[in-house]
């Protein structure tokens, strides 16, 4: 295995909430201004640290949702933006603060980027299959955004499994990528309630889902699977059974970040 270049120490940086968007009733996208942000690869995550007035602290990890550099024709010099999408866990101590309490202008601390394995690099030439369950779509969204922004040509397929339409993250943006990014396909799988007129009844992802909407193993796709543990275990087992090389399957599991 090639040795990675040694990065410097990951320091805590002040991050100011610049913008917040509700994604669903329980998920919120937070755009932070981090003036000295060094940049990141799609798929990486950050550690977030909160400090209470009495000095009590809590840390959690969150996947980065945004591409780097931030695209969309933003103003030059406005580059220090890091976007997270946080799913509120009702019994959590950090996620409810981020989804319900934090206001534009407030500051938190953040360090990263972290993780050099669950990442997509534009230099990878193979087709890409993304399989996301619930908020596991967040790091995959960074990959979709990154590809769209750089007009990369590698064919991408995203299989995104959610309970119902009301749980869909990036509900307006995903169809735009389907429309504007040639070679990007999206399949939405509903597990509890499908929208009216949806062609298939709600079900968990299974062999047929991945066989029909993924790439054939012969295409040697790079596969990224992210979601809750049971979802990832199921999807990865199916991929291996369908003949995908386990070494091309990268997984990230959400044990529930509260």
């Amino acid at each position: 295995m090639a040795r990675a270049a040694l990065p410097g120490r990951l320091t805590w940086r002040a991050a100011t909430l610049a913008e917040a968007r509700p994604e669903t009733p329980t998920a919120r996208t937070l755009v932070f201004d981090v003036p000295d942000w060094p940049g990141h690869l799609p798929g990486q995550h950050v550690d977030v640290r909160l400090t209470a007035p009495d000095g009590y602290r809590a840390q959690r990890s969150y996947s980065i949702a945004s591409a780097w550099p931030p695209g969309g024709g933003g103003p030059p010099g406005g580059g220090g933006k890091v976007e997270l999408t946080v799913q509120r866990l009702d019994d959590g101590e950090v996620s409810p603060y981020l989804t319900d309490v934090l206001e534009v202008g407030d500051q938190i601390e953040l360090r990263g980027p972290v993780g050099g394995w669950f990442v997509w690099r534009e230099t990878q030439q193979n087709p890409v299959l993304l399989v996301g369950g619930g908020s596991g779509v967040v790091p995959l969204m960074a990959m979709v955004r990154s590809r769209g922004q750089s007009r990369a040509k590698q064919p991408f397929r995203l299989i995104y499994s959610v309970r119902s339409q009301g749980d869909l993250l990036y509900r307006e943006e995903l169809p735009r990528h389907v429309r504007d990014d040639p070679g990007f396909d999206l399949f939405l799988n509903y597990t509890r309630q499908a929208p009216d007129g949806w062609p298939s009844p709600p079900k968990r992802i299974d062999v047929a889902t991945i066989n029909t909407h993924g790439w054939p193993p012969d295409f040697t796709p790079d596969v990224y699977v992210c979601g809750p543990t049971t979802f990832v275990e199921t999807a990865a087992d199916i991929l291996v059974a369908l003949g995908h090389d386990p070494k091309r399957i990268r997984t990230e599991r959400f044990g529930g970040t509260s």
Partner: protein, 199 residues
Amino acid sequence: MAIISRGFGGRRRESVPGLPPGQYLTHDFPVLSAGPTPRIPLDRWSFTVTTESGEKTSWTWPEFTALPYEDFSTDIHCVTKWSKLGTTWRGVSLDTLLADVETAADYTMVHSFGGYTTNVPLEDLLDGKAWIAYKFDGEDLEPEHGGPARMLVPHLYFWKSAKWVNGLQMMQEDEPGFWEAAGYHMYGDPWLEQRYQGD
């Protein structure tokens, strides 16, 4: 100067002795793996210690499970911030496995089915500090938690406790394993919060 988060702290978890800095307590057993879970039939399982001079000592599953074992209870700390206290295991101490292995090496690389590796200094595996565990909570270790057998080095972050172990290689010099090459700390002491390179 730390940044104070206005209004934060109202829902804090109970403070728990035994929790390293930056960790929170979980009662679940979350899973973290880089890829699919390998299924290893017991008749294809073996564990091999390789010294720096290339000498090998191997155990099959029946040989390994016939070794003296220990039942023990320990706290585990994952770099992704969760800690789980008082977990109970059955495993073979590395002291037992390495009793007849002659080595002058200071470092080891732990190898797993599926290709995962992680580096651990040899002294961190000795003197009752590490086991190859094959039972959790009285049951056979589930594949997603590293079964048939996993390393357990509980005084280091849990990624050092490699799942699906199949070998241990002695090394004269320290080299990064899988996560270490991807930016994680070479040693990983949770009490010093050595999460990432440079910590």
